[in-house]
Symmetry: D2
Subunit: 312 residues, 4 copies
């Protein structure tokens, strides 16, 4: 980040202007349709929220509407596992960018069942296995952790999405069984996948998502509760992996054009961390060919350019 960003006194106005611009974009992308529950979402939704490290949340558009956070949830699982297992977890999942499409099984085979990083599906499944093995009720623990970060009990999973994911989860099952064959899954595969799909089915709004992740911009400390969510070093580490691996096979391009650690999900959500400033959460359901929200990318790109937020 180049020096201090401009004061956000009129940040809400800026967000509104960027949102309207995004809404004018020519039709592009398509809503994820691999499960019916996601395909049914209204494609016209668009929202953006910024939670700053001073505890404020600015927003525009459909930022209070809940959506399926999908792979953005991988951040929460990772932080839980880092807290619970410490550095030993990195023997079971690496921290290198994957250089391939997000669910490819090929690299996993080459690297003997050790996923490249915790933000590809295989890596998040290993993290889920860690959580299943270390918590007596891992799903409840996951939901409880997210609620604590978002400072509300009003966060739920979408039961229809959860069931639908499980029914269409053959590729993830293949990844999990392959890793179990290599000895890198400890619990029973169906239990691991149950946790993994549960976590993917959490629904949050842009405002909740931004607030719940702002500790990553604030050296691990939640700015409102003042609770230490993770160590400063681990906050740096999560941001580092987000920078190289958070946006599927468009991660390099996102670093190149935006310059922020970020994670996207096929529900159309994107969360971007601005160290020492705050977290941006954007949402719009239509995805580009990499699986990233078209309008979400546009809004974050514009905001980062306007405020000079690039870390590079």
């Amino acid at each position: 980040m180049e020096g201090t960003p401009k004061q956000p006194s009129n940040l809400s106005l800026l967000l509104q202007s960027i949102l309207e611009e995004a809404r004018q974009l020519p039709e592009a992308g398509k809503v994820a349709d691999y499960i019916p529950a996601l395909a049914a979402v209204d494609a016209d939704y668009a929202g953006i929220a910024v939670a700053t490290i001073d505890g404020q949340v600015h927003w525009a558009g459909d930022a209070e509407q809940c959506f399926s956070i999908q792979s953005v949830s991988k951040i929460f699982g990772l932080v839980q596992a880092m807290n619970r297992l410490g550095d030993s977890m990195w023997e079971r999942v690496h921290m290198e960018p994957s250089g391939q499409s997000f669910n490819s099984i090929v690299q996993l085979e080459w690297e003997h069942g050790i996923p490249r990083n915790p933000f590809i599906n295989a890596g998040a499944i290993v993290v889920s296995d860690m959580l299943v093995s270390h918590y007596s009720a891992s799903k409840a623990a996951a939901l409880s952790f997210i609620r604590r970060l978002a400072m509300t009990e009003q966060i739920w999973i979408n039961e229809e999405v959860f069931q639908s994911e499980k029914e269409h989860g053959n590729r993830n099952a293949a990844l999990a069984y392959l890793m179990k064959g290599f000895g890198n899954i400890v619990a029973e595969v169906p239990d691991v996948l149950d946790h993994y799909f549960y976590q993917c089915s959490v629904e949050m709004s842009c405002k909740q998502l931004a607030l719940s992740l702002v500790f990553l911009a604030n050296r691990g400390v939640h700015p409102l509760t003042e609770e230490t969510i993770c160590s400063r070093r681990d906050a740096h580490r999560v941001n580092a992996i987000l920078s190289t691996s958070g946006m599927y096979d468009q991660s390099g391009e996102f670093a190149f054009t935006v310059g922020l650690p970020a994670k996207s999900g096929v529900g159309g959500g994107i969360a971007a961390v601005v160290p020492n400033y705050g977290v941006i959460a954007a949402w719009s359901p239509k995805l580009n060919s990499f699986g990233n929200s078209c309008r979400g990318m546009h809004m974050i790109t514009r905001l980062a350019a306007q405020l000079g937020l690039s870390v590079y």
Copy 2:
């Protein structure tokens, strides 16, 4: 970077202390031996220099001793090409991390001759092709560009290394012919490789290297000559690609533990950019299994931790 780093009033003392610590490290790594000229280098050399955006250069150890910069030269070639070709160059080389060892030919085949990024060998060869095609005397132009950045005419290539690289360059020739088969090399392959190996054979000291790259930490502007070397946006972009792809297949781990854009070479040199602060250049010949200098990694890791330099 978290706020303003500590004042470097005693930066030289800190560098000296870190250097001595590195020299005490148990023996580890081995000098690159794929060509005799590199294998002959004294393994005990170790130096470090920091050029800050206020124009100062601090240093310790063998920081005035010239060494073969090898792949660190890929930064210079990239900036030259960005200046000369503009955004059209990104149709011929991508900006995604490669997720594989640094000279693998497999990914190039999958992606139809378009290299993943300009810091793997295939990508730098495409960049060399651009320079050969756009300059009447590309080798002279490359050397002249580096001399201008380092503010000295006393920079040369090592003729023995240059010839030796050409004689042992079969893998790079394979990459080049494969890309030519895909139509992504325009000039004659021997001419392209001649430029590529020439660039790799440049010798510089840590002090020269740090000074010559400090524009990347200063929004594209050379702090001493005040010349604009590249646009602010392009400085951000180079730093972004360095962050995801500069340290071979250890790039993710380097982001995770250090958090700085950086590039290494098999001569044992590493250059790390600290946006809005300066550039660190470290050198020691012994390499780890990824091809990165063991002591160089150690020195930069310690310095970044001590000064809180991580961009994340």
Copy 3:
């Protein structure tokens, strides 16, 4: 095959001599140990049997001892599926050699869930899916088919092997779920694997195995029952696929040195078809690095050389 093979009047003597030679071989190879039930087999067993198209069975050594036929069972499943589905089955499994180790998941990903041939695990799993979908009691049908070919009701599965395979079948589960993700598995994966592992757990002796497959050397007709087991064309086709793909990643070398269609299993069994002459079944538990029986390979190689059996 070059002209008519030598008359087998003293074939049994030849088999005995070859068997004794094989028993003198220096210790080499190791018994399959991925499941305990296989690892427990006495490594010193060795047997060989030849069933000729005139209905005779010659043999030597432990040719009446039952062993786990494992992947040799893939032949039976394939013939069942060819009979039941006709040529439409070849849309779901190809007939090309795989060029890779026998259970690699990589090629399956590249070719969108269509296995290269029915003798690699993925291909046999697709064939099992066909049988599960077309028979109301596919496991009983499989056992019944084998008993009919071997002309005895005294063929059983090894229940311990069956359970053990299921417990250690993570890689095969990964293959099955990956193919289901591509839409190439119709039934439920656990049902398909249940059939697949059941078939692998059949136990037969060399004499039974040779007799049960001799129809492949006799244009599809069982020489003793005179029943048409498959069409002449399909017998040719099975032999063709055996020739290119029956011996794992040693198939080419087996064609090169022996020149016969053949299939091996990790239980140490090998069945080789000599068109218009008969079938050789050899067994000895120790495997080479490709998963083929060391002594079994030796015995068949010697017999083929002595009798001039190569089809080329």
Copy 4:
């Protein structure tokens, strides 16, 4: 082969009938166009010849018209190398089917520069290297060998094709340099490629091709000159590799539908060996998606079916 094939008393009539049928086939396939000299060939040519081990040659259509034999020449090079180097050659090229498209560089990388078999481009380039290293004038030796087999001095290379191949040979250069990087090419790459492309540029007619290869059906002995061209064992071996690897990535299907060792070239020629009977050579320029002649495949398939020639 099932017993003795029908007497060829009216073989020429059969060839004529099959040829006319092939000429009636709906338009399909396209002439190789990667070099202009091949693209210029009249697509309507079609010829077939059968040389039997009793020394006769039967034929129909354009069987006296010379065409570019291209990859069919790999057989000649292989036999030369087997004669000259003996079994030691198999340390530098394997005999396993490749399971991938015919010029893929990926497998070569995986297997450290050892090609899967001598009929893929990489394998034939290694064989060319052997010949360049063992003959003082390897190109003259290659042409002389072919002339001796075809019993005529009237065989030449097409100089235009030869030059054109060299100009468009970037992929083959990539393969050669990659293998040189692994230490599996001894001579200089340009010399090796010069030999390789020279061999590919030989022009022969169907009649000449069938006659020149009939020794492979006759235990290594040329039926007319009675010269031993290679050992019986080596004739078997060549036929074995042809069976698993001669028809590019359609080798398995060709074994499945035809059941004969065969080699095709992108000039539209195919040679198929019928052990103990003879050799079929067919030619028509239009190729299917695998690079095999559409009409050539059709003619050989029909002839093999009519005469019951399958080795299986």
